[in-house]
Subunit: 94 residues, 2 copies
C-alpha cells in the first residue's frame, strides 16, 4: 500500500491524528489507513485507532491487522538503541 | 486459554515482566502466554513482547495474535472513562 496512507503518531495534539485518519477515509476515499508509532507513542497509536474506529468511523472501519516489531537506530549521543514499533491497519468495511 | 497464562503489564521493573514471560514458557512449560496492558502501559507491553521474543526466547516463540480494544470504568473521582487495551499472544514454535 502507498506510503501516504500511513499516519505516523507523535507528540502533536491528539485530535490532529484523529482528523488525519478520518480525512483519509472520507475526503480522500482511501480504503486502508496504517497508523504507525514507535516507543512511548505506541499507546497513543492504539488510542487513535480505537477512538477513530469507535467514535468517528463507527461501523465503517475495522482493525484488519496489527504488527509489532523492533528497529535499531543511533540516538542523539550516537549510541545504538532499539525501539519497539507498531502498525495498525484500519480497513473500510465492504 | 486459562487466565494464569496472562501477564498483566504495569509499573513494576521491566525485567520482572520479562522473567514472568520467560518462566511461563520454560519452567511452567506453557505453549502460549498473553501479555495484557491498558492505557500508557500498552507501549510497555509491546516492549516486553519484543524483548522476550528477540532476546530471551529467540527462535522459540512468535507473535500469534494481537488484539486491541477499549474498556470503560469509573476513575477515582467516579467519572466514566474509556481506556484502550492490548493483548499480545506469544506462542511456542512447533
Amino acid at each position: 500500500m502507498a506510503d501516504d496512507n500511513s499516519i505516523f503518531i507523535g507528540g502533536k495534539p491528539f485530535m490532529n491524528y484523529i482528523t488525519g485518519v478520518v480525512m483519509q477515509f472520507t475526503t480522500r476515499g482511501t480504503s486502508e489507513v496504517v497508523i504507525k508509532a514507535r516507543g512511548k507513542f505506541i499507546s497513543r497509536a492504539v488510542d487513535v485507532a480505537e477512538v477513530a474506529r469507535r467514535r468517528f468511523l463507527e461501523d465503517q472501519v475495522f482493525v484488519k491487522e496489527i504488527k509489532i516489531g523492533s528497529e535499531g537506530f543511533k540516538n542523539n549521543e550516537g549510541r545504538d538503541v532499539t525501539v519497539s514499533n507498531i502498525e495498525i491497519t484500519l480497513t473500510k468495511k465492504a
